[in-house]
Amino acid sequence: MKSNKNGFTFSRSKLITLGCCTLLSITSIVALYELSDVPNKKKNGFRREYRNNPFLSPMYSKALNLGGYYISGLSNSYIYLSNYSDPLILMRYDYELNFISSHNIGKSDSARQEAVTVKVDSPYIYVINRETSEIHLYSLFGKSHPKLGFHNSLHPKFTAASPLSPTTFIVRAIDTQLNQYVLAKIATGNQEVKFSYDALQKQIDGFLDIDGQLLYEADSNCVIYVYYYRNQFICLDSNLNVVYKANSIDTNRFSKLGVKKINSSKFTAISSPQIFINAASYIANGKLFIKSDMMADNEDRRLFGKGFVIDEYDLKDGRYIHSFYLSRMGKRKFDDFQILGNRLIAIQEDYLVEYDLTF
């Protein structure tokens, strides 16, 4: 047994035991990985086509010093950002990603701030509260914000809303009878609600498995709902008639989400890895862009790790066109994106990044 100045005693038996402990601990984790069904470990059974020059490098990038941002809207000259932790502060950047101004939309009321989403469709700002099912309308310009309260006790509760106009909205409403989400169209000053019962389909619990992104684009007059956990999106007209249902290119027809009821409360919670088949989507230029987390069989694993893959679909019929990559800022995660013309603006954790879609 040797003992050095520091007082450590290196006996052979100690070192052997330590070695065994290390080996055993690491092996157990490797075994867990081998036994587990980690996403993209096995082949997913689909292929991607790529556009020319598929790997887009950032044209501009800007550190935001904080995570939790999302894009609330794009106007011709500005990018509007909101933060989940303080949603009533609207940040404005130009397309060279210079910070222009920050704008306090209104005083925060008693409502929980986490439940608030802000959408900017110049010249309007929509403040949507998912908890109270209220929408407040503000103007981007002028100091006194004309506030049009929007809340009607006869309207259903909703958890997502997309404005068609300052007075009409498509919402993802809670249907208490069917016990699931349904799409609905509501309007201010009008108590009539138009429901679409054939759009959203329940696979597990009707809420968590139906979760997805509700999009609307005025140019094509198209409402799109993209499911997060299954390979489907639905196209509706602005009167909520289903135009088509289409599948994204991967093979996850059925949501693999595990859902568990929590005994101590009335809530249900996700109890499986949250694998976003279609993590983020946006409509622009007559196309639907979907950021997918699924790796294709013909995809280079290293490239898939270095970038975020975006699949393009034709908005007319939901046909898959091709895919491209957005380069990743370090090891950051992808949070959100929007497109205006040829500019793709993305949020990657604490970074705002702009890509050029031309060439």
Partner: protein, 155 residues
Amino acid sequence: MKKTLIVNVIASLLILLFVYTGTSKLLGFEKFRIELSKSPLLTSFAGWVAWIIPVVEIVVAIMLAMPRFRLIALYGSFSLMVMFTAYLIAILQFSFYIPCTCGGVIQSMSWSAHIVFNCFFIFLSLSAILMYPRKTNTDVDTQIHLNKKLNYLSR
């Protein structure tokens, strides 16, 4: 003796860590189990891993408090911390939702801070093992005590 004192301090720190994280897991058991099942590595084993981890943590803490089992418990803490760190590194490879279920304040640490924190405790338990004398006074004491007991019983 200085060495014994350092070993005792390290053992106390480890006891504090394991009792804290173990009990906070058990107190929020339901949430802990659900968080575990969201982990791509643990989803199919979440049911029993959710029990084993806090129970092992508390057992190791109790053993650390008992001089007789202190060395074994130090090996146990070392293995646990190596395992947690290996898990962290493995899970960071996936860009999906990464659940953290360490419980309490520790949960609010960033990933890099978490790895540094774990490495610090690996280092501590490693040092304690290497500093652990062949036989401490307390060990000898218990040995004598046991012998007396045995003598008494066999009489």
